[in-house]
Symmetry: D2
Subunit: 323 residues, 4 copies
Amino acid sequence: MNSFGRIFKISIFGESHGTLVGVCIDGCRHGIELCENDFSDAIQRRKSGKQGTSLRIEPDIPEIASGVFNGFTTGAPITILFKNQNAQSEDYLQHKTIPRPSHADFVAMKKFDGFNDYRGSGHFSGRLTLPLVAAGLVAKKNIPDIIINAKIIEAGGETDINAMIEKTVNDGDSAGGIIECIAKNIPVGLGEPFFDSIESQIAHLAFSIPAVKGIEFGAGFLSAKMRGSEHNDIITNENGKTATNNSGGVAGGITNGNDLTFRIAVKPTSSIAKNQKTFDFKNKKISDLKIHGRHDSCIALRIPVIVEAITAIALADFILLKK
Amino acid sequence: MNSFGRIFKISIFGESHGTLVGVCIDGCRHGIELCENDFSDAIQRRKSGKQGTSLRIEPDIPEIASGVFNGFTTGAPITILFKNQNAQSEDYLQHKTIPRPSHADFVAMKKFDGFNDYRGSGHFSGRLTLPLVAAGLVAKKNIPDIIINAKIIEAGGETDINAMIEKTVNDGDSAGGIIECIAKNIPVGLGEPFFDSIESQIAHLAFSIPAVKGIEFGAGFLSAKMRGSEHNDIITNENGKTATNNSGGVAGGITNGNDLTFRIAVKPTSSIAKNQKTFDFKNKKISDLKIHGRHDSCIALRIPVIVEAITAIALADFILLKK
Amino acid sequence: MNSFGRIFKISIFGESHGTLVGVCIDGCRHGIELCENDFSDAIQRRKSGKQGTSLRIEPDIPEIASGVFNGFTTGAPITILFKNQNAQSEDYLQHKTIPRPSHADFVAMKKFDGFNDYRGSGHFSGRLTLPLVAAGLVAKKNIPDIIINAKIIEAGGETDINAMIEKTVNDGDSAGGIIECIAKNIPVGLGEPFFDSIESQIAHLAFSIPAVKGIEFGAGFLSAKMRGSEHNDIITNENGKTATNNSGGVAGGITNGNDLTFRIAVKPTSSIAKNQKTFDFKNKKISDLKIHGRHDSCIALRIPVIVEAITAIALADFILLKK
Amino acid sequence: MNSFGRIFKISIFGESHGTLVGVCIDGCRHGIELCENDFSDAIQRRKSGKQGTSLRIEPDIPEIASGVFNGFTTGAPITILFKNQNAQSEDYLQHKTIPRPSHADFVAMKKFDGFNDYRGSGHFSGRLTLPLVAAGLVAKKNIPDIIINAKIIEAGGETDINAMIEKTVNDGDSAGGIIECIAKNIPVGLGEPFFDSIESQIAHLAFSIPAVKGIEFGAGFLSAKMRGSEHNDIITNENGKTATNNSGGVAGGITNGNDLTFRIAVKPTSSIAKNQKTFDFKNKKISDLKIHGRHDSCIALRIPVIVEAITAIALADFILLKK
């Protein structure tokens, strides 16, 4: 349940305030150069500490605990561990009985009969996206020809994102955002019709990222308003290059050699500074909720590198499967 | 690659103009009443023949070829076959060298080095959604308490859909649409954090339906424009009932007991009557394309029952997994 | 549960006295020549009708219902169906309440709460090895360089098998046997350490064949009595050729380029003509049992071609995975 | 490839002389008491240091790094790590070019193009059975009613094992052995016909244990010499209790409620003190080999607890699947 992939397989584990978070990667090619420093940029991009992001700052130092020998991948499973250090667990005790609205508190408690680690949302935490980012870096090394870029294109409905964030923080509130991802140099023929379409696999992984509530490929939801004569991408050469890219680089579930493009919708962080109402399970009534702890006002700001990671993971799996 | 599910597993097979299309369902509960008549309503809803849909009318008679004995499921794999009868294969020969824009013709040819069955799009055909609908009916019987309804809420950007369709057909064009699906009586606790979230599994299946280009849960893409104080769904009682349902019934990837709601974007059918341009692989130049064959002007009209089917398949798998 | 494989995946379905038995094969290479006649020899080898085998003689005509177009595999799932014709279902009614010793009757009834198709053992029947043999033929076509041969080397403890069979039939009894399988031209490097070792996958499939109770590779159980200095296979050249082959072509779970060799133990058919005792669930006491129906006296005689099939299936999966 | 299981899923990682070895367990029930001390007995049973076992003595201290909170399993993945400490890597350098007979040296080098960690056999090492044993302990806690016992019943062909071991060590040689495993209190109905038979799953896991070359259930290879009238286990009561247990507790691939019994054959350790011949890949000729390092003379002595572990893992998976 915490694993994904057919050839390039990843398994994530750990809790926000436990000993560590980590990932085990099975199926990576052998003979790829890999060291701890390789992860620095990606980890830095995911880090909090900037405006609109959480004050919990973790060193996030990766430890490659298996699968690499003399600086190269061996073909055995690669394990990457990140120790947790900067946890303030006392902030979370109240949520055992007073679950935050639109947060995993309630469902985690019910699903696991109260045995879940509630500190910092435990295994439900966005902290688990750190090993995802690490796995994405390893995935990218398996598909060096493909260039993947994701960026935030809108937050809280605005494109002037800095001003919007400042106002949101001042209001003790949070904001959602939209991430756009474009992958270039994609070979024709990745994916399968039906269940293992490119879109199916990427969407599957995208919804693994906490706070993601929507995904669309190419023209996406706008397609629904279009006519075929507008939407159809005219093929212009033997390589399948098209004049437009409303299909987002995918036809019949298979890559067509054009840029793979998609956008994801990120909801506003559910933990906000403002007072809210929720059900108090101890006193069995609706009551006021004041959330402590350190949270992101706009989690979407930290998500582009995670979207790149899951895209690389999906594509590495398809490309290794194709070979 | 043509299979899906962990406990309730389905495998689809067949081609549009081959002998048959079908599905094998493994993991269905034993002791469920099942006969060919049970499929009638669902098959009827998927059928073409109404305005805006294809003129190819197949009898679509299901044959339960295994897994049912004396009118009840046995616990062994259930195979359901549909013979093909009304094929006009000669319509498709030109697409071997003149691929339709935004269609699977080009990628299928490349991926399978020309060995793919090109007649009626072969295994890429929407005809494979017929066994999906059959599997959905069997899935529903495994989760009798859950009520799933999907409907088209918009086509070609209009809500007066009949008028829009008529105009589109007259123009020799096609139109996209949006389907909304709501599932009621969902237990709390289905799904897993990360890779096996409810959203991941449903999105995975939704993108298996040809022509789907987007999916959003609850407030979806609108969430990205909202603030946390607006978006958060206040919990109002011990069962987790919320005052609003911007989360679409899912928190942290897990069902929270509220209605599961999502919308999918369907692109306009790529096969249109109007003249188009595309690359001619035989003559190695861009040329005119006139599509023959019988196609849907608004495939979205036939998709609600398929969306219900994939929702039932996903939920049956989660519920059987939970038991 | 009725599927096997990672790249070359097979799913079997059907019942002994139902409409049909069949297999769906996903992941076969495209562009392989395949027609119904290709299956004749393998099907003939599995057939009953010879001394020591059942009197139920089925035509066993394969129908390729999907995945092949113009005589070549397309890359889409290949479905092969076999209609059942020669069933005498009335023979089996008594076993609903009087289960045969060492047969699936009792466990099937318990596991499926009496909903199982008991006719001819339903989905538990050895008749399901017919689609296995068909899948094996397709697998062999994916690995044309590898030569697989299995034969019965002992039955009822004797190597003069004909005489032993005659005596067993005359006694109204049944006999077990040992099958040896040798696969040549195996590349070095198939398999993984631990869970996906060559031995793990082949053993997994071998125990899918009804009546198999043991498997050993190379020197097998005899290894347990040997010393390292006797057992070790000295490497004699750069290709890994060894002087002896006590390892059966596998080291560390991986093929070492020498012949893959293994033996399987087949128990005597549990359905015998002789009177037996068993528990009568209707009268709730131990009672006499006289088995009707048509059964094999030495099912091992029909198993070599099935062993070749499962070996081909396992190897095709490993080889396609390696590419 | 390094994972196993459908509901109770384990993934193992690490190398013999790397930082650590470990296991990630997904699908364990929540609410089970679990602490590091629980592993002591099982780890002690697997330890080397007794006569006939290796001189490499590791502390083998488990660290539960995720999935347990306040002493109970949470339902999130359980990660258990074992740091390596007592490695003498210099012993192994020669095997890069002079592979040991019947050992993984040659295949590992070929499969991974020389990138494999050759120290102490790297990821191929028997040291990986330590996390397997840990996973087995967790599995056992999921199925508390089932009692599993494995023991060595023969080594080097002898039942007076101590004397045989002493002689073998003195001769600088190694010996194989046979392990018998019996599991009691097994419910009726675990397993599926064909690919997911109890025998298939247990055999799959058994061959994951390095040095295992055979497995047989119930009467096993002896069955092949028996007649049906001898072999058949007469059912004697309503619970399916049988007078004999030649079937080893399995009929039609399904547990029948009698003791599950099987035996596995373990080959002699391939690393022996005695001089041997092998191919020298540097000098491209057959040459003498003198193995350094610390090795078990009779690895079978350490395997019973591993066999219990894999049995518990297989049964936990079946039982969680059945619920």
